[in-house]
């Protein structure tokens, strides 16, 4: 039993921390791609060189700590799904960073059902997807329907795009499909391993944000004085910080569990997918709400670093099914992907 990072992963972590200090915004993606970070998320078969749970978890945790908003989960899911479906060329381009793909999962009018606002007829899609991160920059879009995964070219006929800023910081879009030609990559359940890696990515990203928000809050409470004392000296608040710290460890362990069971038997893996998302989502919201409350007014302001953290935490809970969604499926003993 060994929970420490391997030497390779420690190097990857160092690389990431350096990159995230030096690069921001539009600059960051090419820097990550050049440093091989996308490749670290993918196996050799997928055009990368690692693709392990540990590599995925540590990469997204670092991105989450730094608050970088990138559709990197989409790249990972995309390259992986494309490779599995025999579209190796595009997968390789995504892996090396020369092409981007988006992942269209959420739909209007439903919480997390798939196929409510979109339907497939033959090899054409009609309907709408929403909150598609990075859609404006994508060469192709991976689309979920009720039971399948599809590939749609960004320039395909009948596809219109309406873009806007996302809560988490990047940009997203509504995609409207009108008999848009699409390639069926396979049944949703065939891509359980791929999608589970997506959940790990979002969860580790949330974990990074949880840690950052907790540290910022603790720092504030240690420094800021009220009634002549550091706020952290008020026992009622100190105990709430302690409870937050306990939950942060729960979130870390949930990510560790999924990371360690990514290649396990699907039934076991899916329980960890659900447990991970349920735990991390719950803790993300708790930390978001408690951080604002413990800060007081300043925690409500856009100027202060917490605001963006809060929104990213909420978004990470929401991506690919929130805590309630996965808890409910866990409780019913249902698979994660069906």
């Amino acid at each position: 039993m060994d929970f420490a990072l391997s030497d390779e992963h420690r190097m990857l972590q160092d690389t990431l921390r350096g990159l995230l200090t030096r690069h921001q915004g539009d600059d960051l993606w090419p820097a990550l791609a050049e440093a091989g970070v996308i490749g670290a998320l993918l196996t050799e078969d997928e055009g990368g060189f690692d693709g392990s749970g540990s590599a995925i978890a540590l990469t997204f945790e670092e991105l989450g700590r730094a608050g970088a908003s990138l559709p990197l989960v989409a790249a990972m899911i995309g390259a992986s799904a494309l490779a599995a479906a025999g579209q190796g060329d595009l997968a390789a381009e995504v892996a090396e960073g020369s092409a981007r793909v988006a992942f269209a999962d959420a739909e209007p009018g439903t919480r997390y059902d798939r196929g409510v606002a979109i339907r497939a007829e033959g090899d054409r899609l009609t309907g709408r997807k929403t909150m598609v991160a990075g859609a404006e920059d994508a060469r192709a879009i991976i689309v979920t329907t009720a039971d399948a995964l599809w590939l749609v070219d960004a320039k395909a006929s009948g596809l219109t795009l309406n873009a806007y800023p996302l809560m988490e910081g990047g940009r997203g879009a509504d995609l409207t499909f009108e008999a848009t030609p699409a390639t069926r990559l396979g049944a949703l359940s065939d891509f359980g391993a791929v999608l589970s890696r997506g959940v790990l990515g979002h969860s580790a990203y949330a974990l990074g944000g949880i840690i950052a928000a907790t540290e910022l809050t603790l720092d504030y409470l240690k420094t800021r004085k009220q009634f002549g004392r550091a706020i952290l000296e008020f026992q009622a608040l100190a105990h709430r910080v302690a409870d937050m710290a306990v939950e942060v460890e729960q979130a870390r362990s949930a990510v560790t569990n999924l990371s360690g069971h990514l290649t396990a038997d699907p039934a076991i893996r899916d329980r960890h997918v659900q447990a991970c998302k349920a735990t991390v989502g719950r803790v993300a919201r708790l930390v978001a709400e408690e951080s604002v409350q413990l800060h007081g007014g300043i925690g409500m302001t856009e100027e202060y670093a917490l605001a963006g953290m809060i929104r990213r935490l909420l978004a990470a809970d929401t991506a690919m099914g929130d805590a309630d969604y996965h808890l409910e499926r866990f409780a019913h003993g249902e698979p994660a992907w069906a």
Binding site: Y112, M131, Q293, M300, L314, E328
Partner: protein
């Protein structure tokens, strides 16, 4: 025991509903329902309609031009107008400054300022909090130095809600540093067009810009704008805070939010069925509705006790805590009802596109984020817990 409103009160409720039906522009109600910021003109227009009806200052005695409503009538008005999504009456002049002037102001101050409040000649804002004095309000440092027939004010106020619209601000300022920190505070009325006053908006995490910082740099304020006695302002400040706490439970807002949540849960699909048929989500709605049923009666019990002359105790602190818990829970559920659809936010600053058909979704996210303030401002819930525990310790 009789839980019903009296026939008079029921008639009054009907009159309020009729008024709202006749006077409230549905477009304005819809905008308000969606948590969209109202313009200054929209708020002033609503005030003018209420003033024409004689209802703008429900809490003021008739001698000052108020409606002289009982606590129950005020409650009924607030409930009905929240349920109809009518704009909230901007509280700074009507609910806060008015009662202070009526109790502690000079005859001249009353005669001059009170009619101007009713007529909308002034837009008041509140200068209480400072960057270093939030929950610890008495720790304020904004200085006012007497120089001849003026005070010269230097310092900063913050969390000044709707200050961007205001031409007047009532401020707590420090006129003495001797004695306890509660001593040496004075209550000043400051014209915001005086040289040296500047206002800077604070954007909140939901993207709105409804609060501000106000800076004072050698601002000259005539001494006749002092309310009451110099260094006695803490007394007036506390008096004002008890008035700020009217409608602290927010039952009407919660009722409107619950109705909205049920509407959303009926429309959103979950596991192939309307979300309100999902046992887990239905139980979460039910839990909150049951809490609201109880709090609503707690609120009435306390109003009724107050109407019978019982001295208020920690009731307002209890209602503040439970009221904000319920409203924040309703906001959280409404946002969560939208699931993966609720990942965008209507930032006021820089419009770079909006999702399609998503006004309600955006308002749910913004409402959730914005209402995190409920448990922070007006005395945070932690401060309220301290008040309750302190009272219990003495009892």
């Amino acid at each position: 025991m009789d839980m019903r409103f009296t026939p008079d009160e029921q008639a009054f409720a009907a009159e309020v509903r009729d008024f709202l039906q006749a006077e409230l522009d549905p477009a304005l109600a819809e905008k308000n329902r969606l948590h969209k910021p109202l313009t200054k003109a929209e708020m002033e227009g609503w005030h003018a309609k209420l003033n024409a009806k004689g209802w703008l200052a429900g809490n003021w005695p008739r001698e000052f031009g108020g409606a002289g409503w009982t606590a129950i009538q005020r409650h009924i008005y607030e409930e009905e107008s929240a349920k109809a999504h009518a704009p909230r009456i901007v509280p700074f002049g009507i609910a806060m400054l008015g009662p202070v002037l009526q109790k502690f102001g000079s005859k001249e101050q009353q005669d001059y300022w009170l009619p101007r409040i009713l007529n909308g000649d002034d837009w008041w804002c509140q200068g209480y909090s400072e960057p270093g004095a939030g929950s610890d309000l008495a720790g304020l440092r904004c200085r006012a130095e007497r120089q001849g027939d003026h005070y010269v004010v230097n310092g900063q106020k913050t969390w000044t809600t709707l200050g961007q619209h205001a031409n007047m601000i009532f401020c707590l300022v420090r006129t003495s540093t001797e004695g306890k920190k509660q001593e040496g505070i004075s209550f000043l009325l400051i014209d915001m067009e005086t040289p040296g006053v500047s206002v800077r908006p604070i954007v909140l995490l939901d993207g709105t810009a409804e609060v501000n910082e106000v800076f004072f740099d050698d601002v000259k304020v005539p001494v006749e704008n002092l309310v009451g006695t110099e260094n006695e302002g803490w007394t007036y400040a506390k008096y004002l805070l008890t008035h700020e706490r009217t409608n602290i439970a927010g039952v009407g807002f919660a009722t409107a939010a619950l109705d909205n949540l049920k509407r959303v849960a009926k429309a959103q699909i979950h596991r192939g069925k309307p979300l309100d048929q999902d046992p887990l989500f239905a139980a979460q709605i039910a839990t909150t509705e049951i809490e609201l049923m109880a709090m609503s009666t707690t609120n009435l019990r306390m109003l009724s006790a107050a109407a019978q002359g019982q001295a208020p105790g920690v009731e307002s602190s209890m209602l503040k805590i439970k009221g904000t818990q319920i409203r924040q829970q309703l906001d959280a559920l409404t946002r969560r009802a939208y699931g993966g659809w609720a990942q965008a936010l209507p930032m006021e600053t820089g419009n770079q596109g909006q999702p399609l058909d998503a006004d309600d979704v955006l308002s749910a996210t913004a409402g959730y984020l914005n209402n995190r303030k409920l448990s922070i401002y007006g005395g945070s819930n932690e401060i309220q817990r301290g008040i309750i525990a302190g009272t219990l310790a003495k009892g």
